[in-house]
Amino acid sequence: MSFGLELRKVKRTGFLPAFLGGGILAAAVPVLNMAFRSEIYVGINAAPVNILLNANWQIMSMFNILLVVVGACIMYNTEYAEGAIQKMCTLPTKESTMFFGKIAVLIAVSILLLLIETISVFGCSVHWFEVSADLYMETLKSFGFFLLLMLPTVFCALLIASLSKNMWIGLGIGVMCVFAATMIPSQNFVLTLFPFALPFQTLENHTADVIRNYAAAGAVETVLIALLEIMILKVRRSFE
């Protein structure tokens, strides 16, 4: 129920078109890159998906993270702007239910985002490279990996948004986190566990062990941030 409710709340904010547009924009990156400079990439001896992601994923994931941050801020802005959250608090539901409803919406649009991008990467592989049998598997695996590593970002962005009554503070902190994530060296495993830095990781730059660690870290961080949010909401409620 919460999911449908939250979806209806963001209906008139332009939330869905923004994510669709952002997804198309991010999906255009590999297409344009291949259209203009395919000669650089076609000769490389590697799996097509790897080549494409190596060349384009940094920019694509940057789009994704920024969209998630903006989306999270907008979702909570509609609550805070006209004091709607106070009315929500008088209803016989928990504040955390609202948070998880918003999380569900944000995850759904993130899946949409990643889906558009995956289709684009897949299309580029088929069009410019020779298709091999494991292309489907590779693409699917990448998609799953990206989705899992996107979760901590989604949770963290929404946590920041839920704590700032004024949108610019949430947005400012979110933007700063994204900026800090771009400055983190990608070889340093511990530092890349920063929630906003995780989505920049791709499967092919790592060994199976590291990938497993990343997957585990993504799952653990997601749960931890969710618990933290529940706790913060409880504490905040008792001081208001």
């Binding site: 904010t13 332009g14 939330f15 923004a18 547009g21 952002g22 924009l25 920019i59 940057m62 789009f63 920024l66 969209l67 903006v70 989306g71 801020c73 907008i74 802005n77 702007a81 004024n166 949108m167 610019w168 503070i169 947005l171 400012g172 902190i173 933007v175 700063m176 994204v178 900026f179 800090a180 771009t182 400055m183």
Partner: protein
């Protein structure tokens, strides 16, 4: 009411917004990696740039690429949202002040905040250059005249970008689009400075200025240099058109 008075009013409105805190944090985050990785500045023989120049350029490149445009988008959000909360903008529009003047006063505030952020970065640069210098036993500090000249150039080149962000904030009512377009437009600037049409993309200007300076300081590196002829007229045109449209459009959605 004089224009300066209006600017003062606009500044007062955002006095309690905690925006300074965000700006300070942004500049601190900007310089921490530079200090921690200060030893990397000594390995730049291939580019042929001296360590102290490299320290300065890398820091300001990171700023011009993302965090500076992004915080400017955040400030436009701040200016818009403080007015919309409690319908403050309706009261402002009811005053006997021309809307164009109001719009320009807000833009001047935005420009002065960009100046403040650059000044903070310079301050932070000197702090971090001193710290890095004492860590590495090397003098990273460059003469203030040079720094102010370079940063001043970046600031002036950022004005067309600011006017474009201001246009987005005024004309697009749904915040998700004005913020989203603003932030998303920052990302491709890293690709655009390497093309011949950099002058048509205001978000890339400050980054372009600092990269061209990088090319000048690094003897073995050739980056595109500033060519005033297609650039200056185009930048001026973009600024004037953006500001004109935003002055005309300012407050129109609220008056309907």
């Amino acid at each position: 009411m004089s224009f300066l008075f209006l600017v003062g009013v606009e500044l007062k409105k955002i006095r309690r917004s905690k925006i300074f805190l965000i700006l300070v944090l942004a500049t601190v985050i900007l310089w921490i990696p530079s200090v921690l990785n200060a030893d990397l500045n000594f390995g730049m023989q291939a580019e042929g740039i001296s360590p102290e120049n490299n320290f300065f350029i890398q820091g300001f490149m990171a700023m011009a690429w993302f965090i500076f445009p992004a915080t400017m988008v955040v400030i436009t959000v701040l200016q818009n949202q403080t007015e919309r909360a409690g319908h403050g903008i309706l009261k402002m529009l009811a005053l006997p002040v021309s809307t164009a003047k109001l719009c320009m006063a807000k833009f001047v505030v935005l420009v002065s905040f960009s100046a403040i952020q650059f000044l903070m970065s310079i301050g932070m640069y000197y702090v971090s250059a001193t710290i890095a210098g004492s860590m590495q036993n090397y003098n990273f500090i460059l003469p203030p005249l040079f720094i102010f000249k370079e940063v001043g150039m970046m600031w002036i080149s950022s004005i067309p970008m600011l006017s474009l962000f201001w246009l987005l904030a005024v004309c697009i009512q749904a915040p998700v689009f004005s913020i989203g377009i603003g932030l998303a437009s920052v990302v491709p600037s890293v690709l655009i400075i390497n093309t011949k049409v950099y002058f048509a993309y205001p978000m890339a200007y400050p980054f372009f200025v600092i990269t061209s300076e990088y090319g000048k300081l690094a003897t073995n590196l050739n980056t595109a240099q500033v060519e005033l002829i297609p650039w200056l007229p185009v930048a001026a045109l973009i600024t004037v058109v953006c500001l004109m449209i935003s002055c005309i459009r300012f407050g129109q959605a609220e008056r309907r």
